[in-house]
Symmetry: C2
Subunit: 152 residues, 2 copies
DNA sequence: CTTATATAGTACTAAATTAGTCCCATAAGG
DNA sequence: CCTTATGGGACTAATTTAGTACTATATAAG
């Protein structure tokens, strides 16, 4: 299904929640209740997010998590990359490791290009966009103008 | 990793091979040898592709598989949809089934939009593009022009 | 009509990945 | 201190995916 893991789904959900109602910091418990995601899982996801500094953590009583940057400056792509460990549709398109059957393969660069397109799509949508209920993405048009200028 | 299944990878690989050297029909055995993918697996993939009429099958001696349409008219997106059973990054974004935690969820439409972007990216790249070794995707530029015109 | 070749369908097993939970360590406020 | 909260890691269960095998069906050639 070309699916993201549930962990990633949760991650975006949690962060979007934080972006939507910005009451400063949230404890894992509070987020679990608000989103109906099981607490241990919420905890796990936030820990992962905090390692890559997508959220900041405050320990101790009155502690919790808060977004590390403003929602507009955090992209869905970053969250995906953090929780999935990269964005690569196929082995061949990973930046490291070469595919074992490269010598017999004609597809070569195609996948790399497709990946770039997907990364681009994910990298253009911010948490602020996700939190906006009637979000209509004109991101594609923005790109358009940009590229068109380059063209001429 | 936001990965496609290996089956999908194989599918694209096999069909790209058929697109590149169009010697009519290929038997599963021939394709397995050419691509170094294990025969039973090749067989499985081709069967799946044939059900959705992405390849045509000819039974009996001198039989095999061939592309159902010209390479330029088959998109990578179609192959992915066939072998992954759809293109949906999250539960919420599937056309059917509603996500169970929709009532508590703020992300709402965001995923649908992201999916549309990904689908768009996959649907714009054809087998002919994949088979082209030095494929430089101007697909985005093509879109650009298109959209720009609409803009005015 | 018989035989060899090749796909169709399906069922099954094994492997890998992912999800989810738990425990203990650490930090900080009251 | 003692309570609250995160940090890290390890572990188990569940799900998904990969791969294989077997039987049935179609067809071309002799
Ligand atoms: S299949 Fe990996 S390089 Fe093409
Ligand atoms: S998490 Fe499913 S609708 Fe938002």
């Amino acid at each position: 299904m070309l699916r993201l893991s549930k962990l990633t789904d949760y991650g975006v959900l949690l962060m979007t929640h934080m972006a939507a109602s910005d009451s400063g910091t949230y404890s894992a418990v509070a987020l679990a209740e608000a989103t109906r995601v099981p607490l241990p899982t919420v905890s796990k996801v936030l820990k992962l997010l905090s390692r890559q500094r997508l959220v900041e953590s405050i320990r101790g009583p009155r502690g919790g998590y808060r977004l590390a940057r403003s929602p507009a400056r955090i992209t869905v792509g970053e969250i995906v990359r953090c929780l999935e460990g990269g964005i690569a549709l196929t082995e061949c398109s990973r930046d490291d490791a070469e595919c074992e059957q490269a010598p017999f393969c004609v597809s070569g660069n195609g996948w790399k290009r497709i990946n770039a397109a997907v990364r681009d799509a994910l990298g253009t949508i911010s948490l602020a966009d996700m939190a906006e209920p009637d979000f209509m993405p004109f991101f594609r048009l923005q790109r358009t103008i940009q590229v068109t200028e380059e063209l001429s």
